[in-house]
């Protein structure tokens, strides 16, 4: 068993595009769930809109990749608007049902063969990277050290991802530490009380839904820049995994989602390397390597349960400021 390789593979995921994508999605979810108390169970749908918006703009309309980024974000904002206007007046648990249902409807629309020309249905979309890669200012070659050695394309995606993440985190940080954030946290606690103080609760919820949705879409876009777009990625489980990453770091924090995503992915990579290796070297004689690769998902589920029960505020959250009140 090659321990060095396992550790290297795990360490490499610290700055993987997927980690950045999760961090952005979890940050968006922190705005929804952690700060505004909106039980958005459809974060996968926002990510899908980002990814498909980006790819379709390039493939179907032949527009530049940066227009694709804009389209992806705007699509998510419009989705938030369409979703929010009717549902934000409903009770919280209804919002959860409606968002999870809407995200699933979106996924089925991307999957159906009726729109195959545009969405690629079950095959998804690929072959839209050319222009994005041509815009890469980094000369061809390998860069980095230790486990973090990538070619110019790898770095290009990562650098754009970092920029997006830092900008998004900065915006969220400023907002939640402003009077705007105070109103939002008030709504999380009791929206009728905030309403009685003359705040347009619905407006704030809609703004929060759009802000978080836009950030999540950015996550989807970064992920689409790195590889292909496929509707099979944007399933409900993705939403659950993003929740796991968010709760791991701390739902009502700005840096929690980032830390949570890194830990989530490093552990995933570590287990997906370690467990099959253990099986191959005969340490786990009672399972096959295929079985070993499902073990990490079982552990993810158990970790999510334990986390919510025993440390609901996450790693970075304030013990007193639990996000679960009602």
């Amino acid at each position: 068993m090659d321990w060095l390789q396992i550790l290297q593979n795990s360490a490499s995921t610290i700055i993987a595009p997927a980690t950045i994508a999760y961090a952005l999605a979890a940050l968006g979810l922190a705005v929804h769930f952690g700060y505004a108390g909106l039980l958005n169970m459809g974060i996968a749908g926002f990510m899908a809109l980002g990814a498909y918006g980006y790819a379709i703009t390039i493939l179907t309309f032949g527009l530049p990749w940066y227009v694709g980024v804009l389209v992806g974000i705007v699509a998510a904002l419009i989705f938030a608007l369409i979703l929010g206007i009717p549902t934000l007046r409903l009770r919280g648990d209804y919002l959860a049902i409606v968002t999870i249902a809407a995200a699933e409807v979106l996924r089925l629309l991307f999957l159906t063969s009726a729109f195959d020309e545009v969405t690629g249905s079950a095959d998804g979309l690929s072959g839209y990277h050319t222009e994005f890669r041509a815009a890469n200012p980094i000369p061809a070659g390998s860069y980095g050290f230790g486990p973090w050695v990538y070619n110019e394309i790898g770095w290009w995606v990562r650098i754009l991802g970092f920029i997006a993440l830092v900008l998004a985190a900065l915006v969220v940080y400023r907002l939640v530490n402003s009077p705007w954030g105070r109103v939002l946290k008030g709504i999380r606690e009791d929206e009728d009380a905030v309403r009685s103080l003359g705040k347009n609760v619905f407006g704030y919820k809609l703004q929060a839904l759009m802000l978080g949705g836009g950030i999540a879409a950015l996550g989807g876009i970064i992920y689409a820049m790195d590889r292909n777009v496929n509707s099979g990625v944007y399933v409900t489980s993705l939403t659950f995994f993003v929740y796991t990453a968010l709760l791991l770091g701390g739902a009502a924090t700005v840096f929690g989602p980032l830390l949570g995503s890194v830990i989530f992915w490093v552990l995933q990579a570590f287990l997906s390397n370690l467990l099959p290796a253990l099986v191959s070297s005969g340490v786990l004689p009672f399972m096959t390597t295929i079985q070993a690769s499902t073990v990490r998902f079982i552990l993810t589920g158990i970790a999510l349960m334990l986390l919510v029960i025993f440390r609901p505020q996450g790693i970075l959250g304030n013990k007193k400021e639990l996000t679960f009140v009602k």
């Binding site: 999870i100 089925l108 679960f324």
Partner: protein
């Protein structure tokens, strides 16, 4: 795929596309394997050599056909390919924005089977265009060579019968979900896994142990009830004692759902399995409606179980106590009802009904899989929400409405969007009647 089958080419292609959707979901889940590159299972030729691809499925009545030969021709290539065990194939092609001809070699189909399409002399040959996406799908969803022309009215009747039987099956699971929500406030995502558990235990005893199916099913239902009891004792009751909030409980149930789901995959793998008799041929009944014996037995079992449950809820002491707790838990506790005891029984009943629903679903789909429950979970939530959160009868009504919407909507929309239809209906109904069909409005302040 559905309880009632008929050989009506007028709508069959749609239903088959649905099978394609299931295959795609499966493929998608494999692709999900934490966002690693999309793992293609299809038999692939030249997909490494060329950047673009033509791919597809070949299925007979929703069953994948392996080893069927196809040929893709055009733009300088002439490639042969065979379908894999999932009926899938893919060929790499050099050009996008270009046309290709896909030909299915009918000699390699099982005997007596042909590709049939109305108004098409050579339905085994398809002209496809690889668009700007660089990919195109050419699917062959084949029916048996015979056909009979069915009137629209007959099709509607058939869908309604289908929808009712699907709705009844959903209702079994939905009332348990609703009871649990009503008495404990948990939006239990792991209910899906209780459904799957029923199907898997039935499979274990019937196929692996070799017991007769009529023994395996009651045992599976009993074990599912035991699972409900076990989860209450080990997870939910301790959390009730800790006074954990409902949002937290919901996320705990998501974690439990993930853990159980992958535990099932750990034991039975990623493939679809069949219970004994699931692939039996249907008997023609009336009009275009035909059902297998098992389908009919399923409907009878659903109705009997639902009536039994209704009698329990309405007339027994514990049933009344359950309704009292759903109505007002603290008042019920104050009036001397043993809330913990009733909740335990609710979990047992919810588990048993979910397990039964899972067994029936394994016949309905047909086939059982590690994540089959999560396929229905959203429909269950939709049913419970439609009926008005926490009212068991509302959930049953909601489930039947959803079953009907799923089946009847395929008259107008592609079959692979049929699970989207009830979700859209749900969203629209919530806009006009947020309390659901049978729910009550709440007072503020």
């Amino acid at each position: 795929m559905s309880l009632v089958r008929s050989a009506t080419p007028a709508h069959h292609p749609r239903r088959r596309r649905l099978a394609g959707a299931f295959v795609a979901v499966l493929a998608g889940l494999i692709g999900l394997q934490l966002l690693v590159p999309f793992a293609a299972h299809a038999d692939e030729v030249d997909t490494d050599k060329y950047p673009y691809r033509v791919s597809g499925n070949v299925q007979l009545d929703n069953v994948p056909l392996a080893d069927v030969e196809l040929n893709v021709k055009g733009n300088g290539i002439d490639t042969d390919v065979e379908t894999d065990e999932n009926g899938q194939w893919a060929v790499g092609v050099p050009e996008k924005n270009a046309d290709y001809t896909v030909t299915l070699n009918e000699d390699t189909l099982p005997e007596g089977i042909a590709v049939v399409e109305e108004g098409n002399e050579t339905p085994n040959i398809k002209e496809v265009t690889v668009g700007p996406g660089g990919r195109v799908t050419a699917n062959y969803f084949i029916g048996e060579g015979t056909r009979n022309v069915t009137s629209f009215f007959d099709v509607v009747i058939e869908r309604i019968v289908n929808g009712l039987s699907f709705g009844l099956m959903l209702a079994l699971a939905a009332i348990g979900l609703s009871l649990v929500f009503g008495t404990t406030g948990i939006s239990n995502f792991a209910h899906a896994e209780m459904v799957t558990f029923g199907a898997i235990t039935a499979y274990f005893f019937a196929n692996l142990v070799g017991w007769p199916i009529w023994v395996a099913i009651p045992v599976a239902v009993a074990l599912s009830a035991a699972l409900g009891f076990g989860l209450d004792v080990t997870v939910w009751r301790p959390l009730r004692r800790r006074r954990v909030g409902v949002v937290q409980l919901m996320i705990v149930s998501i974690g439990l759902s993930l853990a159980l789901r992958y535990l099932f995959q750990f034991f039975i793998g990623g493939n679809t399995q069949q219970l004994p008799g699931a692939t039996e041929l249907p008997i023609d009944l009336f009009g275009s409606v035909s059902m297998t014996v098992i389908d009919m037995v399923s409907i009878v079992i659903s109705i009997v179980a639902l009536l039994g449950f209704a009698a329990w809820l309405l007339f027994t002491r514990i049933g009344k106590a359950t309704r009292a707790i759903s109505d007002n838990p603290s008042l019920a506790a104050a009036s001397g009802i043993d809330v913990d005891g009733v909740v335990r029984i609710v979990w047992i009943i919810a588990g048993g009904l979910a397990g039964l629903s899972g067994v029936l679903a394994a016949y309905y789909r047909p086939g059982l899989k590690w994540d089959m429950g999560s396929e229905f979970l959203l429909l269950l939530f939709a049913a419970v929400t439609l009926g008005g959160l926490g009212t068991a009868f509302g959930a049953a009504v909601g489930a039947i409405v959803i079953g009907l919407v799923v089946e009847v909507s395929t008259l107008w929309i592609p079959a692979d969007l049929r699970f989207a239809a009830p979700l859209v209906v749900l969203i629209i109904i919530l806009l006009f009647r947020p309390q659901g069909i049978l729910g009550r409005r709440e007072r503020i302040g």
